[in-house]
């Protein structure tokens, strides 16, 4: 069945200049493989087509059972000079969790 990531995973957004960093961890470690298989850099890039203008690098961290997405040119110039209401991009973690994945349960 299709489920929003918010039901099976948690995320935190961080910023360095104009680069956005999104972490993603499953609540239950049995869902880690689902995240690895389905939440690819390409899928994240399509999901954030209005925000992320640069390259996305995905780091897979098996020991931590987590994923990390480093997204370049993603914060309309970055916290100090952006005109955006959320200039840090702190709320983008919950935008990532809107993405849908297919699960067996």
């Amino acid at each position: 069945m299709k489920r929003k990531l918010a039901e099976i995973a948690h995320s935190r957004a961080g910023d360095k200049g104009n680069t956005l960093v999104l972490s993603l961890f499953p609540f239950d470690k049995k869902d880690f493989d689902t995240l690895v298989d389905q939440v690819t850099a390409e899928k994240v890039k399509i999901h954030f087509s209005e925000q992320i203008k640069g390259e996305i690098t995905r780091h897979i961290l098996p020991e931590l059972q987590g994923l990390l997405f480093t997204c370049e040119n993603a914060l309309s110039t970055g916290v100090t000079t952006s005109l955006a209401l959320d200039s840090h991009g702190k709320s983008l973690s919950f935008a990532l969790l809107e993405l849908e994945v297919e699960t067996n349960n």
Partner: protein, 440 residues
């Protein structure tokens, strides 16, 4: 040499709450308290205050924090390490001495200097962000190098109870007392990597104790109105146990720690600090008791030969205006209003932005397409080099009151001076730190 030390983190940014540090100092049985109060731009803003008044430029909450903390630090024999010196550590140190004298407290303050490298800039340096010369960004206002634990160690070697710095890498504030108390070899990259992991986990205070983690549906956290800040027991071999004062709100768990571990980390295998290139990817976090976790497995490679320098520059002005619409066709009227303003003035600005708050102001139209709000707040923002043009944004929005569309209410306007920050790398041999001792 000690076998174990306890370090608390009582503030994770300049505007953080005051009382968690008081509770940590009073009930946490700390050896060291760290207050991390300096974000990328904070120091550029502080530099501007210093230019206007040479006795200013330290953290704006320093006095309020120290008034309450000083007597507790004395009573509990806790050493304070803080970057509240911001753009003017000496003036910050003198202010602490002044507060101590007023209270009849004898104290020594060690001030760490040398991060301010503004006078060394040529303007030709290329930025890490755009590979463009600094001078192409506009008028430069500040340049502060990220100093490391090696700059704090001489201050810890004095008998000062308070160590105040300007720009220092956040984890270094925690790593320095570990190196000092355990006699760690500063060439042991794995130990420094583990110490950096510990510092990184603690530096944002409430972000590891469940605060920034919380979601009432999927990640409920108890008693967030009394959120406790963290402390860590670090052992000589680098092992760490992170917890919080019992009775405070919040939660310390594997999940809260994992989110914080990767926070603002660009590459988990190569986290650059002035002390080490740390590897966070093999860290093991285990819950050993309620609200207590064990952290192992941080590693590292030798420190870089360059230091990062944050350079502040004048980036012009941002003008903002907002106005709200409700009920039938609220979004249509807000969009009409946005179109009117866009046609009238958008051509005057370098960047111009129209947001519909309640619908698409955070993440644009695509992710917001299924929302159907009762009310919409129009927000217009424009960036410009001219202050009068920044003011014009809010004036134009306010003029919608009488010029329509119908039912616009609650107009507000705002003008902000923008200070941009970019980074350069500088050879560490060109940056020398010093320590100055003050006494009440």
């Amino acid at each position: 040499m000690k076998e174990k030390i306890r370090i608390g983190c009582g503030a994770g940014f300049s505007g953080d709450r005051l009382e968690p540090a008081l509770i940590l100092t009073e009930k946490g049985n700390l050896d060291y308290l760290v207050l991390e109060c300096l974000a990328e731009r904070t120091i550029a803003l502080a530099q501007k205050r210093k230019q206007q008044d040479p006795s200013q430029g330290y953290d704006v909450l320093l006095e309020r924090r120290m008034e309450g903390l000083l007597p507790l630090l004395i009573q509990h024999k806790t050493r304070l390490i803080t970057n509240m010196g911001a753009a003017n550590p000496i003036a910050g140190g003198k202010k602490i001495i002044e507060i101590a004298q007023k209270k009849g407290i004898k104290i020594k303050v060690a001030v760490v200097l040398g991060d301010d490298v503004f006078s060394q800039l040529s303007g030709e340096e290329l930025t890490m962000e755009g590979n463009l010369p600094l001078k192409s960004y506009g008028k430069l206002v500040s340049a502060n190098a990220y100093l490391g634990a090696d700059a704090i160690l001489p201050a810890l070697d004095t008998d000062a109870q308070i160590i105040i710095t300007g720009r220092v890498a956040d984890p270094s504030l925690f790593l320095a007392p570990m190196i000092k108390e355990f006699g760690w070899d500063i060439n042991d990259a794995n130990l420094l990597g583990q110490g950096t992991v510990i510092g990184h986990l603690l530096e944002c205070a409430g972000q590891i104790t469940g605060g920034y983690f919380a979601d009432p549906v999927t990640k409920p956290i108890p008693n967030m109105d009394r959120l406790g800040h963290p402390f860590v027991d670090v052992f000589k071999d680098g092992k760490a146990k992170i917890s919080k004062v019992s009775g405070t709100g919040g939660m310390v768990s594997v999940q809260t720690a994992k989110e914080q571990l990767l926070y603002e980390v660009l590459d988990p295998e190569n986290y650059f600090t002035p002390d080490v290139v740390a590897d966070f990817s093999k860290v093991k976090i285990k819950e050993i008791a309620k609200d207590e976790i064990e952290v192992l497995g941080g590693k590292g490679k030798p420190r870089p030969q360059t230091l990062k320098v944050s350079v502040g520059y004048q980036a012009g002005w941002m003008g903002e205006g907002e106005i709200s619409y409700a009920g039938a066709h609220a979004l249509e009227r807000a969009k009409l209003a946005g179109d009117i303003i866009r046609k009238r003035i958008s051509h005057l600005y370098h960047e111009f932005r129209v947001d519909y708050i309640g619908m698409s102001s955070l993440h644009g139209e695509l992710l917001s397409q299924n929302s159907n709000p009762y009310e919409i707040r129009l927000r217009i923002a424009g960036k410009t080099q001219e202050k009068f043009l920044a003011q014009l944004v809010g004036e134009e929005v306010e003029a919608l009151y009488t010029n329509g569309p119908a039912g616009g209410g609650g107009a507000r306007k705002n003008v902000t001076e923008l200070l941009g920050v970019v980074s350069i790398l500088k050879d560490r041999s060109s940056i020398a730190s010093q320590v100055e001792l003050l006494e009440s």
